[in-house]
């Protein structure tokens, strides 16, 4: 047995390519079996007529894709994009300073990073429910507002776009902070010193050195926030109620209560195509230099 093992190892040892395949195989199999195959299945479903009790019937149709071009759905799509973009921008403006401070700190760095990832220790569902308690009419925020005499009536927060945005930003902020932190942490402080001797004041050092060199982190963070935000449904479901539907809710609904799998699949593929287009546009735009231009 061990002789066989020896021989297998010796064989692998002389063949770097075979070794690479051997290392790729388990994870690769997982992705193919549980991601690629279902994805293909969904694509096939999206092109087949709807079955009466869910599922599909044999045949070919484009009706599900055609059905999506309806003001009702397009409005949901538009709202989803607008909110995801807003969420990304807010996360960027909130997250960059946090990442900057963490990257600059020495003694507190580990502790601050720990705080950033701490929310992941509890389920997202539980945390979202907690926000309901915070924001509902009889919730903590309103009871304080009324106790302080700032308002007579409770301010309606729950089931508004505001509540959804609070929830989205809260949920995705760590995904913005961590990549920006990683790129700022790598920034060589002697570059900033060099800029300072060359006459750059703090604002110029940030604009011309820190910001451009942290762009990879900004790009990664933005993608890590924007893409999951587009697909999110839990936040809008719990904090937005029935009125603030996002595309994720639509898809989820088609697969569950509406039992329209082909339409749900078609909607998913439309969103996927749009995400791909948006990301490619973003990656194209971000290559336009930021802060590198010579002052004219």
């Amino acid at each position: 047995m061990s002789a066989l093992r020896e021989r297998a190892l010796a064989w692998l040892y002389t063949r770097p390519q075979a070794r690479a395949w051997a290392l790729l195989a388990p994870g690769g199999f997982w992705l193919v079996a549980f991601f690629l195959v279902p994805l293909l299945l969904m694509f096939v479903y999206s092109l087949m007529p709807r079955g009466i009790y869910g599922g599909v019937e044999p045949g070919f149709t484009l009706e599900h894709y055609a059905r999506f071009i309806d003001p009702l759905y397009l409005q949901v799509l538009q709202r989803t994009f607008a909110w995801s973009i807003a969420c990304t921008v807010i996360c960027l403006f909130l997250g960059y300073p946090v990442a900057y401070v963490i990257a600059r700190s020495s003694r507190w760095r580990t502790f601050l990073l720990f705080l950033v990832v701490l929310p992941f220790w509890t389920s997202f569902l539980v945390r979202t429910f907690a926000m309901i308690f915070l924001m509902r009419d009889t919730g903590l925020v309103n009871s304080w507002l009324m106790r302080l005499g700032l308002t007579e009536e409770p301010v309606t927060m729950l089931y508004t776009p505001f509540a959804v945005m609070i929830g989205l930003v809260y949920g995705f902020l760590p995904f913005m902070i961590l990549p920006i932190y990683a790129s700022l942490e790598k920034l060589d402080s002697s570059l900033l010193e060099a800029a300072e001797v060359l006459g750059a004041r703090p604002a110029a050092r940030f604009r011309r050195i820190t910001l451009p060199l942290s762009m990879p982190g900004v790009v990664a963070g933005s993608l890590l926030v924007f893409i999951p935000a587009l697909g999110s449904f839990l936040t809008s479901d719990l904090l937005g109620g029935a009125k603030q539907v996002m595309i994720g809710n639509l898809v989820q609904n088609q697969f569950s209560s509406a039992r329209n799998w082909p339409f749900g699949s078609a909607a998913s593929f439309i969103v996927m195509a749009l995400v791909l287009a948006a990301v490619m546009w973003y990656l194209h735009v971000k290559d336009r230099p930021v802060g590198l231009e010579i002052t004219k």
């Binding site: 002697s190 060099a194 006459g199 750059a200 050195i209 060199l213």
Partner: protein, 374 residues
């Protein structure tokens, strides 16, 4: 520049101290740097040389009542680097990786609001000054350059500002020996040609000796000695300076008789040697001297030239170094003494010595460097 201006030192350190917590990195340091001088700050790592340079650049502030740093006659203790008329070349070059060569070099000019029409021309001239062809290199990113080329860009980026003072923090540490020698000569000639004051920090004694007009040798946060390369090499003030600059053999003893302008120094184990008169030597005081290996000779015990100091020992090893040969002689009570002999062609004129021979190390009393206690 007017004559009166020429007299003022460009840089003055007046009793400057800088502590980090309990550690005194720079301890009551004073020196002047003259206009146009190539001034080196030399010392082992942790001696305070980099902190001294950073105080000069403005990255560090002297302690409260920690003396004064003056640039061009003006006290600059509280001034930020961008308010000082200096430029600096960093140890790791610190080129901006996202900017091409032109934009790296023009960075300082842009920050100082130089008219755009002027920038292009000055960048080109700066690149030519450091012998980088602008047409070839101007659009390259730092990542596409070799170490030596990066070094030149860093130099151009500093020189383009036409600073009164150029600070260099071990700029040649990361490039290979041959290129380093070449850059040493180039830096020296730029210093002479531009009239810019160069302040050069290094731990490489040979580099400091090659390039400097004057050297400040630092040790433990203090200036151990300040002088021309020859003064420091030929007359080190303390054992640590002698040890750091070049190689030295050390001898100890007690001053005894004084005859004809010379002291006879008795070693603990019975040997003795003579040293020239020196104000630091008094009757029966402890004397430590250093003698450079190339000022010594190896002699047969029975043929020691009259008037020379000689200590008996055994040849322990012979090291062939090309230009020179090192004969290491173990002298009882002193230890290993290294004698450097000029190589006059081993194939034609082989060395007379071999391991185990009894031999004397001999040197002239005038070649003794009398060291102060530290």
């Amino acid at each position: 520049m007017t004559g009166t201006h020429k007299g003022t030192p460009v840089v003055q350190f007046v009793g400057v101290s800088k502590s980090f917590g309990d550690v005194k990195a720079v301890d009551d340091v004073s020196f002047d740097i003259r206009r146009g001088e190539f001034f080196s700050i030399l010392g082992p790592s942790g001696c305070g040389k980099t902190t001294t340079l950073r105080l000069l650049a403005g990255f560090e502030e002297p302690d409260e009542d920690g003396g004064e740093v003056r640039l061009l006659g003006e006290t600059v203790n509280k001034k930020r680097p961008y308010e000082r008329k200096i430029a600096m070349v960093f140890q790791n070059y610190a080129l901006f990786p996202h900017l091409d060569v032109t934009r790296n070099v023009s960075f300082g000019l842009e920050q100082r609001k130089t008219p755009k029409s002027e920038i292009e021309d000055r960048v080109r001239r700066a690149l030519e000054m450091v012998r980088l062809k602008p047409d070839v290199f101007s659009k390259r990113l730092p990542g596409q350059l070799s170490g030596g080329q990066r070094q030149r860009v860093a130099l151009a980026r500093a020189l383009v500002l036409e600073p009164a003072i150029l600070l260099l923090d071990e700029p040649l540490g990361a490039i290979d020996l041959k290129l380093r020698k070449e850059m040493q000569l180039e830096l020296k000639s730029l210093n002479q040609q531009l009239g810019t004051t160069f302040v050069y920090v290094t731990h490489d004694q040979e580099e400091a000796l090659t390039m400097s007009d004057r050297i400040a040798v630092m040790d433990n946060g203090r200036v151990a000695q300040l002088g021309t390369p020859a003064e420091i090499y030929e007359n080190p003030r303390t054992a640590s300076v002698a040890r750091f600059i070049g190689e030295s053999n050390f001898f100890n003893g007690q001053a005894g008789r004084r005859t004809g302008g010379r002291w006879v120094v008795a070693q603990p184990d019975g040997g003795s040697f003579e040293v020239p008169d020196h104000p630091g030597i008094t009757d029966a005081c402890q004397v430590q001297i250093a003698v450079r290996p190339e000022w010594m000779d190896v002699q047969k015990p029975d043929s020691i030239p009259p008037g020379e100091n000689a200590l008996m020992g055994t040849v322990r090893d012979i090291i062939y170094l090309g230009e020179t040969m090192h004969v290491i002689v173990t002298v009882p009570g002193t230890g290993d003494v290294t004698v450097a002999l000029r190589n006059e062609g081993q194939l034609i004129k082989p060395l007379l010595w071999k391991r185990g021979d009894t031999a004397a190390v001999a040197w002239l009393p005038e070649d003794c460097q009398i060291l102060e206690a530290e």
